[in-house]
Each structure stands twice: as C-alpha cells, then as structure tokens.
C-alpha cells in the first residue's frame, strides 16, 4: 500500500481514454463499476470538450457481482456497437473489473462483431496513466497497421523521386498539455521543410488512418511517453526511422530540423521559420540581464522536464537547482540530464517529497505541473506550468504551443512573466523605502501579491499558512541583522537568508550579526 494525497498520474485506463478520446470513429468499452464515469469530466470540464468521450462503462454494482457481470459486459459491447457504429472497438477493464477477471477481450471477440475488436490489458495495480496511453496506442497501431506489414523478404518500396517525403506525427492525445497547438506548429515547421504529414495519431486519427501509418517515410515522436512503444514497433516493422528530438526551445527545434533533414534527400531549406523566432533576441536584450542565474526548479513528465532544463540554461540563462520527474519509465534519461546540470535528480510521484525539495532549495522560479503551481503559490514563488497534469486554465483559448519557434516565444513569455521585469527590479531596489513599493512589492503586472493570495486561500480553507523562507533552527539572527534582512527586496530575501545561514554554519558561527550578513554578501556576491 502506498499513501497518496495527490497523484501526478491517473490509473492506466485513463491513459487509454486519452487515446480513445483523441481519435475519431473508435469506441472504448470499459468494464468498470459505477462511479468510474467520473473520468468523463476530465475531458468535458478540464479540456472543455464539447462531446462525451467515446467510452461506454458497464457500471456494475454489488448486485451484479452475484449474477453475471460477463453477460453485462457483452450486452454493453453489443449496445455500444449498435449505437455508435465505430470503425473499431477497444475493450478493457478498470481496476475493479481486473479483479473479477471477466476477460473482456475474449467476451467481446465472441460477439463476432463486423469490426476489429482490440483488447488492452492494463494492469491497474502496477502501472499508471502514461504507460496505459502508450500501451493502448501500441496495441491499436499493432492491430490496425499490423496486417499491412510487408513480409520480411520483400524490400521496403523506395520513395519515388520528386515525391515529397512524408512522416507521421505520433503521440498527441486528449487532455495533453498544449498537444493541439504543438501539432499545428510542428505541422507548419515540417511543411516549411517540404515534408508532408501522412497521419497525426492518436489526435484526430481514425482506425483507418492507423492502418496506413506504414505509408510514411519516417515517424516524428512528439511525446515519447505516449508514442515511443508504438514508434519502435513501426520502426521494426516498416523500417521507418524515428525522429526523437522533441522540438521544445530554439536549440532543440534547430536540432529537430537537422534530424528531419538527415532523413530527407533534398537540399535543406535555410532554417525555416526562424524569422518568427523572437526568443534569441529577447533573451539577449539588456532587460533580460536580470534573468541571469535565476535559480529554477523543474519538475514534470520526463520529456517536458528535460526539454525545459535545456531552454532554461541555454536560452534564458537560468541556473537549475533541481530537476525531477514522475515518469519512472524515463528515469534513466532524467538522471543523465540532472547529472549534466550537476543537480540531484528527483524521480518520484510523491507530491510531498517534491514540496519538501522545493522548500529546501528555495528557487526563484518553479517550472512544473499544476501540483507545483499550488506548491509555489503557497510558498510565494513564481511558477509556470510546463507539463501535465494540468488544469482548465492550461487549455488557453489562444494559440499557445510549446514546440517549434513559436513555442519558444511562448516559453519566453510564460516563464519570464512570473518574475520581476529587469528595470522594474532595479527600480524597486532603489525605491524600496517608499511606502508604495515596500519590502514586499510584487511584480506590478501580477497584481495581488502571491504570498497574500496563498494566505487568503489558507485562511479560507483553514490550513496553516507557511513561511516562504523557512528559518534555520540551529542558527539565530540578531535583531539588527534580521531588520537589515527585511530591507532586502523580497525576491532575493530567501536566497540571502539561505546564503547567509550557510556562510554562518560553514564558519561555525551561531548568531548572525550585521557583520555576518555583509561578510556573507561579500563572499557570495550579489
């Protein structure tokens, strides 16, 4: 048993639903007890979908357990087929139905429906949402494209000279973080490169589309958490190479272009789309000097966290103080990335562990999921969301990709927004004795102070508010030094406190005086 307050990922059948809901003309029959239909609201409320997910639940109850739940499942499959007439059916069980062992695959097959019936077995007591999405997508691809795999003796048909190279975009799902806009952005990028899109899947694909995945020259794996398994199978079966660079950030987008070009035979176009890229200049403009060395903590799915780390260091000049992910499946990649930045990797799905790491590191910015947004809000630290799980505000009405050159522009805006503007930071430093600015002034564009928001929430819900700059118990502050610390602008106060305490501890000093404070300042700089 594992004690969980909040979870980063749902159970694996939620991953299957994200795939099914992304697709057209596919229907998922889920053997599940009453109550599991809550999952519909993830899609209709958080993502504001205007259609119910294409999922039929058997919603069995206690009285059915004594009777014939298998029969209930069969009639649910038959009715769903009659009502929705999908091109293919996906069948499976949620956690409770897994325990009663009704064999949804076998039962559905026995109905002899005139469409492919694809069973997915998702061990709910071992696996989680992203694994469920990857397994479901793989099973669908294998079942639907499998019949078109050339036999091993036949050679792959060569591309006809003059025909545009084509690829599949793999991985976007329902409820994905900015998947809709990423697909649009990457499609435009590939179009600029002269590459046409054969199939985007699962988002918007029909089962018939999956059947023709093998017609593309190569595959672009946009979201490895979902598409890696399927892409590897396609590579083995159709000899389709995989493009594995995820184009998040300017540098990664350039690498992505290079990787795509290496798979095409035509002469490469000169940096398509770069003209629209504002991040490099914005980052080099003098106002951005203040971004230098901002201490940032990053947590998310492995792909987004690793990509964010690169953008943060190479493209914004931040300093990474922590890097972590809840994607255990990609733990090796994340550990390698953390090592390259010289930080401890944090691979966990325990929200409290992430919270205590953030409290300990005292970053100036958190890039995380909606969980870290709540953590950061309580601690009064700026935060931008970079990864699922996300909430309704992370499905913006405007075009807001994370990938490609426009995606990099979006990253610049959304990561810099929670921070103080450069000139603003200096002015507040200069005028901090002024009543209007005070020592707790916040970025002017953010309106109400973050700490105040946190405190209001905490008061409203009766939880104790937390101090954003935890004190170190073994070391005490002399009154005079504490007062002087209060004059330091809030956005560096936590860092100054931490540095000074470290300095005092290293020097074996138990009470921090005014002298210690300025000695530490001289020692650390800034």
């Amino acid at each position: 048993m594992e004690l969980a307050l909040w979870t980063y990922e749902g159970p694996p059948h939620i991953g299957a639903m994200r795939v099914a809901t992304a697709m057209e003309d596919l229907h998922y029959v889920l053997h599940a007890p009453q109550g599991d239909t809550y999952a519909d609201l993830l899609f209709t409320m958080i993502e504001r979908r205007d259609k119910r997910p294409p999922v039929t639940y058997t919603t069995f109850q206690a009285r059915d357990l004594g009777g014939d739940t298998a029969q209930l499942f069969k009639s649910a499959v038959r009715n769903a087929y009659e009502r929705f007439r999908p091109q293919a059916l996906l069948v499976g069980a949620s956690c409770t139905a897994e325990l009663i062992q009704d064999d949804p695959g076998g039962l559905a097959k026995a109905l002899d429906l005139p469409v492919p019936v694809i069973p997915v077995e998702l061990p709910a007591y071992q696996r989680k949402e992203n694994w469920g999405a990857a397994e479901t997508f793989y099973r669908l691809v294998r079942a639907l494209a499998g019949p078109h795999v050339p036999d091993s003796t036949a050679t792959q048909p060569k591309r006809i000279a003059g025909r545009k190279p084509s690829c599949n975009l793999l991985g976007p799902t329902a409820l994905g973080f900015r998947h809709r806009d990423d697909v649009q952005e990457v499609t435009r990028l590939l179009d600029d490169l002269g590459v046409s899109i054969n199939v985007v899947a699962p988002l918007g694909a029909t089962p018939a589309d999956l059947a023709r995945l093998g017609e593309a020259d190569f595959n672009v794996v946009l979201y490895p958490e979902v598409a890696d398994t399927a892409a590897r199978w396609l590579e083995r079966s159709f000899k389709q190479p995989r493009v594995t660079t995820v184009p998040i950030g300017v540098g990664a987008t350039r690498d992505f272009i290079a990787e795509v070009e290496s798979l095409c035979f035509e002469a490469p176009a000169a940096n398509p789309g770069e003209a629209a890229s504002r991040l490099p200049w914005y980052s080099r403009s003098v106002d951005s000097t203040y971004l230098t060395g901002k201490r940032v903590f990053i947590f998310g799915d492995a792909t987004h966290a690793i990509a964010a780390a690169r953008v943060a260091t190479e493209e914004l000049g931040f300093q990474i103080v922590g890097l972590g992910s809840y994607s255990r499946e990609f733990g090796r990649d994340l550990r390698a990335a953390a090592e390259s930045y010289g930080v401890q990797p944090l691979i966990t799905d325990d929200y409290l562990e992430v919270e205590s790491r953030i409290a300990e590191l005292q970053p100036e910015l958190v890039l995380g999921t909606q969980m870290e947004r709540h953590i950061a809000k309580r601690m009064g630290i700026g935060c931008a969301v970079i990864s699922a799980p996300v909430h309704v505000q992370d499905f913006p009405a405007r075009y807001s990709p994370q990938m490609g050159f426009e995606g990099a522009n979006v990253l610049f805006d959304s990561w810099v927004h929670p921070l103080m503007m450069g000139l603003e930071e200096h002015l507040i430093g200069m005028f901090r004795e002024d009543a209007e600015f005070g020592t707790d002034a916040r970025p002017s564009h953010l309106g109400q102070a973050a700490e105040t928001i946190g405190a209001t929430d905490a008061a409203r819900y009766g939880e104790a508010p937390r101090d954003s700059t935890p004190r170190n118990s073994e070391i005490s502050w002399a009154d005079e030094a504490e007062r002087e610390l209060g004059k330091v602008p809030f956005f560096v106060r936590g860092k100054v406190r931490r540095n000074t305490e470290r300095f005092a501890r290293d020097g074996g000093c138990a009470v921090i005086t005014l002298e210690t404070l300025y000695d530490a300042k001289a020692h650390f700089g800034r």
Partner: protein
C-alpha cells in the same frame, strides 16, 4: 422548551395523500450505463464539515484520481483525505494487507497529530478483495486510543451512489453518539449543512422553543450530539436512509416532513418539529413570518425569469425530487423528467405528494436512452453531472451542474433565493451572450 410532547403530531394532511400518490405514480426504470459519482465523492464536503476528521480511502489509484478530479483544484497542501493505494503486492498476498494498512495509518497519524477521528473508507477494490475494514477499524481504534477513534464505512461505487457516501459515513457515526438524558426531549438535525445554515436554524428553533437541538455531523468529532428514546430527528437531506435506520435503532424517532428547500419546504419542515413540541400556530407564524417574507421577496426577483421554464433532471444526488418540487411550486417551472439514482419512497412521501402529477419520475439510469429523451424534449434547463454538461451545452441545451446543489448552501429561508439563482444564472447568461 417543551418536554412533554411525546406523541408525534401528524404532519399536515399531505402525508396521507402522499401514500396514495406515491403508490400510483409511475416510475420509469431502465438499466444501462449509470453516469453518476460513487460515494467516495462525499469526502469532498464531509472533510470540510468535520474539521478534526481524516478520511483514508483504501482503494486503487482510480479512487485517488476520482477524489482529486472531482475536487477540481488542489488547494490543500495536505488535505484531510488521502488514499492508501492497493498495490500488486497487497493483491498477491506477499504483504499482508492488514499489516500494510496499520503501517500506512501509523505514518499518517504521526504526520497529523491534530486528527481525532479517522474514517477508513472502503472502495470497490477493497470490497471485491474482501478486506475487512470493520475489523481493521476496531484494531486500529485500540492501537491509537484514546487520542484517535477509528471508524469505517463504504463509499464504493458497487455499494453507493454519490450522496449515499454521506449516508454511510453518518450511519457509522451513530453508534458513537453519547446516550441522551432519558428525561429530556431533544431534536437532532441530520445531514451536513453549511455552518451559516446551522446557525440560522438554531435561531429559529430557539425562538420557537424547540430544543435542545443537535446536529449530525458536528464541526468537531468530540462534540457529537446525544441520542436516546426521547430524541426526535429531522432529516435535512433526502439521502439518509441508513443513518435514519441507525438512529431509530438507538431509540430516536424520525419526524416525517418535506425537506427544507424553498419557503414551503422550510416551513413544513419547521412546522413538523414545532408540532411535536406543541408550538402553537401564533407563535410559529410570529417566529417564521419575517424570514418567510424575506425569502418570498428574494424569490420574486427570479420568478419572471423562471416561470414556465421546462426542466429536466438527470439522476445525481437524490436531491432531485425536493428541488423539483420547489421549482414547480414556488417558481412555477414545469418538470419534464425528474431522474433520481434511488427513490426512498418513505422519506420522500411528503415530497411526492407535492409534485405535479404529470412530472415523469425515473429511477436509476440508462444514460444513452435518457440523453435521447432529453434531446427530444429540449428542456429550457437541464440539471446534470459535470461529465454531461458541456456536451449538452454544445447541443444548444442550457445546463446546471448538479454538484453545486451539494457545495452551495441551499437549505432554509435565507438560502431560498440563492437556490433559485442557481437555476436563473445559466438562463440569464444565455440571454446576455451575443456570441
């Protein structure tokens, strides 16, 4: 206080006609997909109400995900609910599930010394693997006595639908209630209410001379209301069948009444208790008149907007019938179909008697066929769960989320206007928008 009203006074004439009426009324029953929450969802409002209680679900990752998703935003650093997620090792018997549960509970209580009452909440998987939570609660109660009391109930989807979780939770509390003084009559109001509503009701009962009044659940677990043979109880919610039975088993007697929604419901509900306490007509009118008039004025604001509007309830909280009665009788709205997950004929007898005769009742659900009926009727306002609301809006139907009926204070005179407003707002918005 009037202690000598031992004989229950009959609630107005509606009671008898209710029985006839309820018997005659045709109820549509279909079996298919039920688009409803399970009883675990009740934790979301119960943990706010009982402030020193913790709810530990023994379930799967799905249970944890449900509570997290239904709660919407994760505003609490450490909420007073959590899930002990059953893993493969627990199923394979490698780890004794009971040892694991003890370990998880120890860890939890060590972190949260403020907790006085711990509910072990059963789920679908814990029931299917037959984990005995009764025994576990007894064992853990001994282990953590006297600082923490451990109780258990089931919120599983195979046993409970949405608000039945509150029923199961309150029923589990009943055996812990202290024994009441055998010579003193007392009133107990049963069902989680907003604190502000409790305070309003306390003032009214005080002015009527009805009392002493206790509330179940209480804000603090160590202040449970006493119960005994001279306890009479009013249900504030229509979904508390098991709790009522448990109270009756301890000698308390139920005061039959309509539910306190709207002016009419609140008056009849208060009247039923006042009759038991022998409060005369004059005093009753004098005490309730100001609030009745105020509520009437608050309702008048929405009458033009709502009169004649046709409404359709998908089954959700069991509140559908009393609220449909309020909408039909106090706002002149027209019920098309009133779906309810479960129809408790006895507790709803007085309500059924007041419902327009041509309203179609349905119990249970086949959501696909119900959606077809709804699409054919095209109601002016459709009350449904969160999974259905946006898809119906996309078809041009105006909807109201039924879950708000649980999260918003809607009981009593002072909230009658707020209850009407919940239905008026989607219609007003529809009128206001020009995009």
């Amino acid at each position: 206080m009037n202690g000598n009203a031992a004989v229950p006074a009959p609630v107005p004439a509606v009671d008898s006609c209710a029985e006839v009426n309820a018997g005659e009324r045709e109820v549509l029953r279909q079996r298919g997909q039920r688009e409803v929450f399970c009883g675990l969802t009740g934790i979301i409002w119960l943990h706010r109400k009982i402030q020193d209680a913790f709810f530990l679900v023994i379930g799967s990752r799905t249970c944890a995900h449900l509570i997290q998703s239904a709660a919407g935003v994760m505003i609490f650093a450490e909420p007073r609910f959590a899930t002990a997620i059953i893993g493969e090792r627990d199923l394979a018997g490698l780890a004794d599930a009971n040892d694991e549960l003890d370990r998880v509970t120890d860890r939890l209580l060590a972190r949260r010394p403020d907790i006085r009452l711990l509910f072990l909440v059963g789920s679908c998987p814990s029931e299917v693997i037959k984990l005995d939570l009764d025994k576990a609660a007894q064992r853990l109660s001994k282990r953590h006595a006297p600082s923490v009391r451990v109780l258990n109930y089931s919120g599983s989807g195979i046993e409970t639908t949405f608000t039945q979780g509150e029923d199961a939770c309150l029923a589990s509390l009943v055996p812990c209630l202290p024994a009441a003084n055998a010579n003193e009559s007392s009133l107990m109001v049963v069902g989680a209410l907003a604190d502000v509503v409790e305070d309003q009701l306390l003032r009214l009962f005080g002015d009527l001379g009805v009392g002493p009044v206790g509330f179940l659940p209480q804000r603090a677990a160590n202040k449970l209301p006493p119960v005994g043979p001279k306890t009479r109880f009013l249900l504030a919610q229509p979904f508390l069948g098991d709790t009522a039975r448990a109270l009756e088993a301890r000698g308390a007697r139920h005061i039959q009444a309509p539910f306190p929604f709207g002016v009419e419901g609140t008056t009849a509900w208060l009247r039923a208790a006042a009759d038991v306490w022998g409060v005369d007509e004059d005093r009753f009118n004098r005490v309730t008149a100001p609030a009745r008039q105020r509520a009437g004025r608050a309702l008048a604001r929405y009458q033009d907007m709502l009169a004649g509007r046709r409404f359709f309830f998908f089954p959700d909280s069991q509140l559908e019938i009393p609220i449909a009665r309020f909408l039909a009788r106090e706002l002149a709205m027209t019920p098309l179909e009133i779906g309810t997950p479960y129809l408790h004929r006895q507790h709803l007898a007085a309500e059924l008697a007041l419902l327009p005769e041509d309203a179609q009742l349905s119990e249970g659900q086949d959501v696909e066929r119900q959606l077809d009926r709804c699409a054919a009727l095209r109601p002016d306002i459709t009350v449904c769960g969160l999974g259905l609301a946006n898809p119906l809006e996309a078809q041009g139907l105006t909807t109201k989320w039924s879950i708000e009926l649980l999260f918003t204070p809607i009981h009593g005179y002072e909230q009658a206007g707020d209850l009407a407003e919940l239905f008026a707002r989607p219609l007003q918005r529809n009128t206001a928008l020009a995009v």
